[in-house]
């Protein structure tokens, strides 16, 4: 029970934080309060989750029950899977709040009371989401997360794009949530309890007896989660929404919030439903959707010139990688548990890695915005001269997201590639299915190069090149914005060099979440401090390996050799002007803008279908939906057109008529009196029955 104490501390800290930031008007002071409460929150959450990850236990705590009213309890349950997500939330939330403190200065007209309370409640609802073991409270936290994040999206409520993005976000996520609620109501009618354990029983029952309903339920739940995760085509809203809030909030959106949908999927497929033929079909569907997102999302990102929008498209692409891993895993886990586990571990590890470098990259974009007031890659350049730490962090983040060794993205991508191409060895499955999975793998290898291309474009156009004179004098970058980036970049490098830190926890998170008997960790992965080897079957030799520490060793030896060679040559050094082929130009004239990168490739992937311009396989503007009904239906559904307005018009005309008569007779006041008097007399006479 003692461990729960830390969760209580975290909750109380964040609630106090919400309260105080809601009442305090001073931006800087409220930022400090938010930092204090979030540090406490993050520290206790970190301790809590690391303890559970290291002990490989799971703990449960029943808080209260709604029993007589409805069979639902607020039941907290933390296993390794939840703990891994708690760890992510702890790391990212701390960095985000520390970054926000000074960052909010770029919004002088906006009160911090519209930012911190909602950001902190977003943290709290994210924590609630990953630790509840009850569908009703899951939906409650899910909705709380959606609403608080929506308020952050429309933070700049004077900006047209923010409002437009906000409405798209609101509608898309609520349609998704309604699917979730629909599924929950249907399953409640079977299980009569919202507890995951009871739900699992009814799912087992439904899977055996009612295949149509089973497919419909899985469909609704999958739709709900992948819409939130931003999988195309359901994630159409994402590129319009993630750039809108302040960068620190975008960082939490991209780093954690879209991954919580992946948590939902994992929890659903691993813990709530049993592995069956349904999980094969839906595993394949997930992998297919994942690859579509990887392909379209990333190629679309290549054509973007606005840093945050570029990263939002990458958020779509990267979620695709996770879905490819998870889908492959769910498909193969029953008849080839080794392969399935490698794929699932790869998917979950990619969640962890992605949340670190994605939040890092959004923070980088935030620093650029803080310094220059824009994130348009055509307008900024040469920033490495004034923000060297940010530039290095951005390069680390970019190389991580592209999966370049020895950074962390490489490990998870390696596992995803190897598992999707490793299906070649599975004899049980059909030939064409294997071919499809291998093609998925090859597409993801190819897209990895595109990811690299688009992030080299980001780095090259924002940080390299000539610095514009006008930018130099703007705000200096405070330490509170540099430190979070260094922390996150450090984690990228650390987990990349020592994959054993996260690999076993991730593996255990998957295998503890399901009741299906998984192979032991040591038989799938051969792990040492230097790296790991991957096994695809019992008692095989390792088929895939990666020992990052040796890379560092050889890099060190080789660089020592070459630098000593340079030292020996002892060439004189001199600083010169850039050579423009004999002409003189000012820095502004020779800047190579982000838009100019990869033009021929962009032209290859741009085309036009029915007036809709596609750039990078993605429509430039989402087509607006126009219906035209037949006139008779229009008439029926609009009775005011043919009934109400004509009627009103006639009545008004009548009143007008009366009015004109009144106007004409107004002067003859005496006449009115006489006529009225006579009229009254006659009425009274009539009423009295002629007695008078």
């Amino acid at each position: 029970m003692e461990l729960w104490f830390y969760l209580k501390v975290a909750t109380v800290a964040i609630l106090l934080g919400i309260f105080f930031t809601a009442i305090i008007k001073n931006k800087s002071f409220s930022g400090i309060l938010a930092i204090i409460s979030t540090s406490l929150f993050a520290l206790s959450l970190f301790y809590f989750s690391v303890n559970i990850l290291l002990d490989k236990t799971s703990i449960e705590w029943k808080i209260f029950s709604l029993a007589p009213l409805i069979n639902s309890t607020l039941l907290l349950y933390v296993d390794s899977l939840s703990a891994l997500f708690l760890l992510i939330i702890a790391i990212v939330s701390f960095c985000v709040v520390l970054f926000s403190w000074r960052y909010l200065e770029v919004y002088p007209k906006h009160s911090s009371r519209r930012f911190y309370p909602f950001l902190l409640s977003l943290f709290l609802s994210s924590v609630g989401l990953v630790i509840v073991k009850d569908l009703l409270f899951f939906i409650v936290f899910w909705e709380a997360m959606t609403l608080t994040s929506w308020v952050l999206v429309i933070f700049e409520n004077q900006k047209k794009e923010a409002l437009k993005g906000g409405i798209q976000y609101f509608i898309a996520t609520h349609v998704a949530t309604s699917f979730l609620i629909l599924a929950a109501v249907i399953i409640y009618s079977y299980s009569e309890d919202f507890n995951f354990v009871e739900i699992k029983k009814s799912f087992t029952n439904i899977f055996e007896n009612n295949s149509m309903l089973a497919h419909f339920l899985i469909f609704s739940i999958v739709i709900a989660f992948i819409t939130k995760a931003g999988i195309l085509p359901f994630g159409f809203w994402l590129p319009n929404v993630y750039p809108q809030p302040p960068s620190s909030a975008s960082s939490f959106f991209g780093g954690v919030m879209s991954k919580l949908a992946i948590y939902g999927l994992l929890r659903f497929f691993l813990s709530i439903t049993p592995f069956s033929s349904y999980s094969e079909i839906w595993g394949f569907t997930l992998a297919l959707l994942g690859v579509v997102s990887i392909f379209v999302g990333t190629i679309a990102a290549l054509t973007q010139d606005e840093a945050k929008r570029l990263m939002s498209f990458h958020a779509i692409g990267q979620v695709g990688y996770m879905l490819l891993g998870i889908g492959t895993g769910i498909y193969f886990v029953t008849f080839s548990p080794f392969l399935g586990m490698i794929a699932l571990t790869g998917g979950l590890l990619h969640v962890f890695n992605n949340s670190i470098y994605k939040s890092l990259l959004f923070l980088n974009a935030g620093v650029i915005f803080y310094k220059t007031g824009t994130t348009d890659l055509n307008k900024v350049s040469g920033l490495i001269r004034i923000m060297p730490f940010t530039a290095i962090a951005a390069i680390v983040g970019s190389l991580s997201i592209a999966g370049v060794p020895p950074f962390n993205g490489f490990i998870s991508k390696l596992l995803i590639f190897e598992s999707s191409i490793g299906v070649m060895k599975v004899t049980e499955s059909f030939f064409l299915v294997k071919f499809a999975f291998i093609i998925f793998g090859i597409i993801s290898v190819f897209i990895s190069a595109i990811t690299l291309a688009s992030f080299l474009k980001f780095v090259n156009s924002a940080f390299m090149g000539k610095l514009k004179e006008s930018i130099k004098e703007r705000r200096a970058i405070p330490w509170s914005m540099t430190v979070p980036q260094i922390i996150l970049a450090g984690i990228c490098l650390l987990t990349g060099l020592f994959p054993f830190i996260v690999l076993e926890s991730t593996y255990y998170a998957i295998s503890s979440a399901t009741e299906f008997a998984m192979p032991a960790f040591s038989s799938v992965f051969y792990v040492s401090i230097a790296g790991f080897g991957v096994n695809f079957c019992q008692n095989c030799t390792e088929t895939g390996v990666w020992f990052p520490l040796l890379v560092i060793l050889s890099v060190l030896i080789l660089s020592l050799l070459i630098f000593s060679f340079e030292k020996y040559a002892n060439a004189p050094k001199r600083e010169v002007e850039t050579w423009y082929g004999g002409k003189e130009h000012s820095p502004e004239e020779v800047i190579y803008t982000g838009h100019s990168f990869y033009q021929p490739f962009k032209e290859m992937v741009s085309f036009k279908i029915f007036n809709i311009q596609f750039r990078g396989l993605y429509p430039v503007e989402l087509p607006s939906i126009k219906f035209s009904f037949p006139t008779i239906i229009k008439k029926i559904i609009q009775p005011d057109e043919w009934f109400y307005y004509p009627l009103i018009k006639k009545i008004m005309k009548f009143f007008d008529l009366v009015d004109t008569y009144y106007e004409k007779l107004k002067e003859k006041y005496m006449a009115w009196l006489v006529i009225g008097g006579i009229l009254v007399f006659f009425i009274v006479f009539y009423l009295a029955g002629g007695i008078i």
């Binding site: 190897e418 090259n460 020992f547 850039t578 050579w579 990168f597």
Partner: protein, 304 residues
């Protein structure tokens, strides 16, 4: 696998890829000169070039720290990539260390190093070159990846050593032959020679990515380009044509050098007799080839 074997094969690989590469470059220059009816430089000219450049003045057009580091990174990463190629045996010296994906990514790092060097130099010509280099890389990388994956599917393992020993013992089958042809057709693009030297096109963009480099940095990048030629010729000759392979350590090295010389000769012929492609033509060529090479995977899954 003893420590002695590990060290000796590592030394052999590094020696062949890094220290013999200027010789092979001199060889190509001589052949090109003969084709164009010139006398040409002596075969050791490229060594002299590198040594001379090492002592030349180092002109810095920028204070960017990456400009100082990344030229060296290119040559270092080629050295590391060379450790994943089998020369003295079926197994590369560092077979236990990484698989085909690591190899694909390390050759990506070579490209990244040169692109970062180019963009850090702040010269617009270099930017044009960097953009072209990245496009060439992302279009040619899938071909090599697909060919290596075809081998992995046939051999049932991702390790390069396993692929080569499977290929040697089971002989060429249709899928591997197809993969070999595809790698051969993309060899010029992998090396970055005419008709695919678009990122360094002297006449158009004044050596593009190399424009601001001088002294030791220029020597390093030039050396990296020479070594890249040997590296990819080795990939082709040792992974996709592993025959003949003997038990003798020295004999294997000699056979390897002969094979590489032949392939470099063919590549030089192509280089001397062809014009440069435009970047959009090169992209179309490479992506079409990549699409075509997926057939090899289909065949490999069928088991032929």
């Amino acid at each position: 696998m003893s420590l002695g074997w590990l060290i000796s094969s590592t030394v052999v690989n590094i020696f062949v890829v890094l220290f013999l590469s200027p010789f092979f470059d001199g060889f190509t220059r001589k052949i090109r000169a003969l084709i164009q009816s010139r006398v040409g430089p002596p075969p050791l000219q490229s060594y002299y070039d590198i040594l001379k450049l090492m002592g030349k003045e180092d002109l810095k057009s920028t204070i960017n720290p990456l400009f100082r580091i990344s030229p060296y990174l290119s040559i270092i990463s080629i050295g590391i990539a060379s450790l994943l190629i089998p020369i003295v045996d079926f197994n590369p010296p560092f077979n236990f260390w990484g698989d085909i994906f690591l190899f694909i990514y390390i050759i990506t790092v070579v490209g990244i190093a040169i692109i970062i060097t180019a963009s850090a130099s702040e010269n617009p010509f270099a930017y044009v070159g960097a953009s072209r280099k990245m496009m060439l890389h992302l279009s040619v990388e899938p071909i090599l990846a697909i060919a290596l994956i075809t081998g992995a599917i046939n051999a049932g393992s991702f390790k390069i050593g396993d692929i080569v020993s499977w290929y040697y013992s089971h002989g060429p089958n249709v899928s591997m032959l197809l993969a070999t042809v595809c790698v051969f057709l993309s060899l010029q693009a992998l090396i970055g020679k005419i008709p695919f030297d678009i990122s360094e096109a002297e006449q158009e963009i004044a050596e593009g990515v190399l424009i601001e480099l001088s002294g030791p940095k220029y020597a390093c990048v030039k050396w990296a380009n020479m070594s890249r030629q040997v590296l990819f010729c080795l990939v082709f000759s040792q992974i996709f044509i592993p025959w003949p392979m003997t038990d003798n350590f020295l004999l294997n090295i000699i056979i390897c050098l002969i094979k590489v010389t032949i392939i470099i000769f063919i590549s030089t012929l192509i280089e001397a007799l062809n014009p440069r492609l435009r970047i959009d033509q090169a992209l179309k060529y490479n992506l079409t080839l990549a699409g075509f090479s997926i057939t090899a995977i289909f065949l490999a899954l069928l088991g032929v």
